[in-house]
Each structure stands twice: as structure tokens, then as C-alpha cells.
Symmetry: C2
Subunit: 381 residues, 2 copies
């Protein structure tokens, strides 16, 4: 198996693009990432495109139509909120197979208006499968189960939003770039108790892309800014995942994390930063434990300690996260990998995690009663 390197990574500013297609957004991100790599579309051996709402439209081909149709294999993947990580991981596998030297993974999404606001997933309503009707309710309930077991407070959940909004003030690509004090987070509109509006991720349009290559090609391009993919894991719900709501949210991430750590040969204590799937403020605390950043029950204490803020021991979501950078569903999994790549290169500007050498990117997607989690571990060369 060839080692796999990321040699180009970029994203467009997340926001609202009513006059542009998701294909145009994906093409822009792809061109930015290729430019970052110093490569052109004719150097690309295959393209993997992720989208939750547009996968069936041959998005990879539509992106090539914007850039240049070179006839290369185009693969369109969909895996709910884990779509982007799935495309990236298929690109990793494609490089490892030896069949390509250079592969692009791109995620792009224009969210149907009101999709997240209504909490609707694909397909029929998930009532009775999740034990709750909407995504906000699912993650609210999972948070309350944690609160009940470990005494986690509403303020601790809300601090996640305060932190990630603060981080986003240093990210020019974030949808929102303003501070939200604790009082404002707690006082904003209640969506699903204890989740207020500022504790829910932002429904935005966006696109992100990465250029992956083989070791041979990376050496040819120069390893100076290359980042190595140490671990790449994708998991689906294990059988026992549906024995209760909290069990539904957590096991799939734990399974993916265990697999990624094993493949990478590193443990959570060695990480310098984490971009995780903070679709709701409760989710971030659950994932501290699911990803092994702290022991079970200690997530509340971890956010209180400031360890997961920029400047802390293990900064989490320095990009602003889904809560403030925004959550263009199919693009999110690529975007959080892009952030880790920028950080490992030392090119993250004001939000730079000093001396970052090892980072983890995580996403979690749900369909109707089923899920997917992706975990990637990347290292500075």
C-alpha cells in the first residue's frame, strides 16, 4: 500500500449563493485546491464528489464540465453528513490501490431551504426510529442523557457555541464571524431543549476540495507543504446502536475512531487539534468522549478547563465548526479535513494552533435509523 499525501486543499467562503449551482461551487473549490497543489485538471486521474442532495445529478461530471472534461473516472458518493469524508476516504483508497497518482475529493452542497431548520433527514420521517422526530431533538435528547448520567450542565453545552463562534472570528471563510457571549447563546430562540438556535449548526451553501497523491508524486511535487494521511476510517452503525437514543449517536463514532487510531498507530493523547462534527453543541461534548479526548463523563469538565479552545491543550473546531463556520452537508467532511491540512502546514493565520503536527477530522451522518462516521488522522510530513 502506497502512503497517501494531501498536496492541495482549499474551500470557498461558506454562505448563501442563491445565484450559483452546487456544481459551480464545487468547481471553484476544486480549482482553488488544484492551484494550491500547483496542479491542473489534466494532472488529475479521478474525481470523487460528495453531496447529500446533489449526488444523483452526476456532480463530479458537472464539476468537470465547469473546469475541463478530461474523460477521467467520476464517482459520486452520498452518505448524509458523512458524504465528504466518504469521498475523501475513497480517494485515499484509490491512491492506495496504485491505480492513480493524483485524485481530487470535493464536497459541495446547496442546502434545500429550511432542511435543517425543520430537522428533516432524507426519506420518510424518522419518528420511532430515532425515538424523536428531528435532528435537533435527537441531539438534544442525547445531550440530556449525558446530563442525566454525568451532571453535564446546560452552560457547559452552551460554552461549545461560545468557543466555536469565537474561533470563527479568526476564519475569513466562516459563515459567521462574530462573538456570541454565553448569555446570548442561552437566550437565543429555543429549538429543542436545551438546544437554542445558537447551539444548532448553520444551514449554508459551501464547497471544499482536497488533492491527494501517491508518495511518488508527492516527492516529485516536493514534500514541503504535503500532509500525510495516517489513518482513514469509515464506520456504520454497529448492531447495538439502536438500543436507545444515546447509543444511536455514539457507537458509530467510537467504532470509526478506534479504527482510525489503529491504522494511524497513534492515540488521542498525541493529537494537536481536532475538527469534529459539532452539528449541535451537545454533539461536541459527546464526541470529546467518543474520540477519546477525555474519559467518559468528563466532557463537561474538559470544556470548562479551556483545553479545547485555541491556545488550550487540544483545540477543537478552531475553524469555527459547523456551529459558526457553517454546515454545507456534503462539503463538511472535506472542509474539516481542509482545516486540519491548513493547520498542519502552519497556514491558518490568526487561528493557527502553534506547532501542530498531528490532527484529526471527524464527521457523523444519519439517515433514517442508520448512520455513518468518518475519522481521518493527518500528520505534518
Amino acid at each position: 500500500m502506497s502512503d497517501v499525501f494531501v498536496v492541495g486543499a482549499d474551500l470557498i467562503k461558506f454562505g448563501r449563493y442563491p445565484d450559483r449551482t452546487p456544481f459551480q461551487l464545487g468547481a471553484e473549490a476544486t480549482l482553488l485546491a488544484l492551484d494550491d497543489a500547483g496542479l491542473g485538471i489534466r494532472d488529475v486521474g479521478a474525481i470523487y464528489a460528495a453531496s447529500t442532495f446533489n449526488a444523483a445529478s452526476m456532480m463530479a461530471q458537472q464539476i468537470l464540465m465547469q473546469i475541463g472534461q478530461t474523460g477521467i473516472p467520476c464517482v459520486n458518493v452520498s452518505n448524509a453528513c458523512a458524504s465528504g469524508a466518504t469521498a475523501f476516504r475513497e480517494a485515499v483508497i484509490a491512491i492506495k490501490s496504485g491505480m492513480y497518482d493524483v485524485v481530487v475529493a470535493v464536497g459541495a452542497e446547496k442546502n434545500p431551504s429550511g432542511m435543517l431548520a425543520s430537522g428533516k433527514s432524507e426519506g420518510p420521517p424518522p419518528e420511532g426510529l430515532f425515538g424523536s422526530g428531528t435532528m435537533p431533538a435527537l441531539f438534544a435528547e442525547a445531550g440530556m442523557v449525558h446530563s442525566s448520567a454525568y451532571g453535564t450542565t446546560i452552560e457547559q453545552f452552551a460554552k461549545v457555541s461560545v468557543k466555536n463562534h469565537h474561533h470563527s472570528t479568526m476564519n475569513p471563510k466562516a459563515m459567521y464571524q462574530r462573538e456570541t457571549p454565553l448569555e446570548e447563546v442561552l437566550a437565543s430562540e429555543m429549538i429543542a431543549w436545551p438546544l437554542t438556535k445558537l447551539m444548532c449548526s448553520v444551514n449554508v451553501d459551501g464547497a471544499a476540495a482536497a488533492v491527494l497523491c501517491s508518495e511518488r508524486k508527492a516527492r516529485e511535487l516536493g514534500l514541503g507543504r504535503a500532509v500525510r494521511v495516517l489513518g482513514s476510517a469509515l464506520a456504520s452503525d454497529p448492531w447495538d446502536a439502536r438500543n436507545g437514543v444515546m447509543m444511536n449517536v455514539n457507537p458509530v463514532t467510537r467504532l470509526a475512531a478506534a479504527s482510525a487510531y489503529e491504522m494511524a498507530g497513534v492515540g488521542p493523547g498525541e493529537l494537536d487539534l481536532v475538527e469534529l462534527h459539532d452539528c449541535f453543541a451537545t454533539a461536541e461534548l459527546l464526541h470529546y468522549e467518543n474520540l477519546g479526548l477525555c474519559a467518559d463523563g468528563e466532557a463537561g469538565a474538559l470544556i470548562d478547563s479551556g483545553a479545547t479552545a485555541l491556545g488550550g491543550r487540544i483545540p477543537v473546531n478552531v475553524s469555527g465548526g459547523l456551529l459558526s463556520k457553517g454546515h454545507p452537508i456534503g462539503a463538511t467532511g472535506v472542509a474539516n479535513i481542509v482545516e486540519v491540512v491548513m493547520q498542519l502546514r502552519g497556514e491558518a493565520g490568526r487561528r493557527q494552533v502553534q506547532g501542530a503536527r498531528l490532527g484529526l477530522a471527524h464527521v457523523l451522518g444519519f439517515g433514517v435509523g442508520v448512520g455513518a462516521a468518518g475519522v481521518h488522522i493527518l500528520a505534518k510530513v
Copy 2:
């Protein structure tokens, strides 16, 4: 790169399943293929699921929910009519990467009622991109361009339907299993000149699955019934594909075929059978030339000669093809590989191509102004 083997392959009878979900159809095909391989779901390292209309529903996970949720990576792919070939090829790449020993590729589809009848593709209407409004019109026009250039007759196109319907009488899994004489084909309802209803593929529900494994695992299982994947190619439209209608239909298949032949190290003259994408009768003749079964302009003569009928020099679509076995969009690409596997094993019953040792499976998918073609070349071990 590890060699890749198919050790299990099967499909459900194509037809109408108003009371079942596409996930149930996909699960049945997966169980049939696993049973064929003598393996269980716990032996499977990853699953690739193809669907045009259901990819966004996390179909792979929904299929596992029917069978057993083992937590394995689930990848959902969509590539219009090439979805099934794309899932199979991703499974090939996954085995080649060395990351898995056993991978399932499954295609399943319940077609939205009237989808093919109206000729609608995904997304906005393709008028002005294809130069014609519907899939029947696109392939009708491509046939007429061929007719104009080479004198191909309506009867020659119609003979494709006669042949494939005849073949389907020997396939218990085909939607239709009855003879359609030339007069009946020509006299059936006109859809888009010169394509009558019996010259258009059948909109059905269906599912097909294949179990792929590494050489190590294949040897462990015994190579007796194993089939080797010699060539695996996927192409998208090259840049010049849209300089006219005929150019739109043909170049993407030619590109995929050239790539598959090169990878396999064989030429079209060595093939013993071909399952190709006869979405319309005109398409089969075009693909004789696109796949190199005859020289350009000689497809009409080839069908006249009987060479592509069972018992001929190079039998094409002995399964009955999309025209009579049926075309469950996302499943089709896996189903035609399954047919080739059955033939190479000598297990195709009354439609067996005697002494078949090398076979090719082809699909062609179109979105709005873009396309994908998949070509796989398989060999008896």
C-alpha cells in the same frame, strides 16, 4: 496491486415489487450473492451500494439493517445508469488497495413510475444540452446519424430487440420471457422514430450483487468457481463529446473500453461474450463499434450475420439485456457483470455460451449533458 476475484454473484428476478423497498430488494440480492460465495455478512469488510434514485438514502446501511449491522464502511454511489458499474469498480479498487479481503457491490433500484417512459433524466430538462428532449429521442437520433452515415436500416436496429427478447426466454430472472418477431417489434407503438416500444428498455425494479475478494481469500475459498477481474474502467465525457449528438453517445464508451482492454491486456477479438448497455435497440449497434466488436459502419452487418446471437461468434446480451431482462437503473451495472460471471462459470443453463472464458460487461449513463461509461473484463480462472 492484488488481483481481484468475484466469488459470489446473483440477482433477484427483475419485475415489479410495489410492496417492497429498494433496500429489501438489495438485501435479498446481497444474501443470494453471499450464499453463492459461501460467506456470511460478518465476512464482509465493506459494502458499496449503487442506486440512481435511492443513493441519498444511505442505501448500503439500509441494506445492512435488513441483514445485520456489523459496523463496516458503507459507501453509497450514484452515476446514473453507470451507478452499478461504479460501485463494482470501487469494490475492485478497495480490494486492490489491500484494505479489505472481502467486499460486496450491490445495485438496487425501484424506478419512479413513468421515469423512463417520460425519458426524464435527473435535474432540469436536458433540451439544448443533448440537442433533444428525452433519452428515447437522444438514442433515436444517434441511431439515425449512424443510419445516415452507413446505411444502417430500421430492420437491423429492430433485430436487436428480436435477438434480446429471444435470449430472455432462456433467463428465468428476466422481466419478460417471450419471443417478439421482427414484425411485432416494428409494429409496436412508436416512441421516438425509429424506436418502437419494443426497441426501448423496460422500466423495472431489481437488484443484483457481487462478492469480490483478494487473491489470498479466493485461494482460501477455492478457485473452482472464482472469476478474475482482468480490466476495470470508468470514463466520463471527454471534452469533444458534445460536438453533436452522436459524439455524445459514443466517445465515453470508447474511452472506457480502450482503458479496460489496456488494463486487461486483451482485445475485443478474444472475447467470448458481451453484456452491453442496450437501453435502446439503436444503442446496441452503436456499442458493437464502440467496444470494437466490429469496424465502424459494420454493426448492421454484424447483427445480420447472427454473430451476436447465442451460438454465434460473439454473443451479445444473452441475458436478454435491458430490452427484455429489464433495466433497474442502479442495479443494471452489477447485473450485467453477474451474467458474465455466471457464463464464465458455465452455470447459465439454457442460455450458456459454450466454452466461455472471457467476457465483457458495459454500461453507459447520462445526466444533463454529462455521462459515464463503465467497462469490466472478466476471465475464467
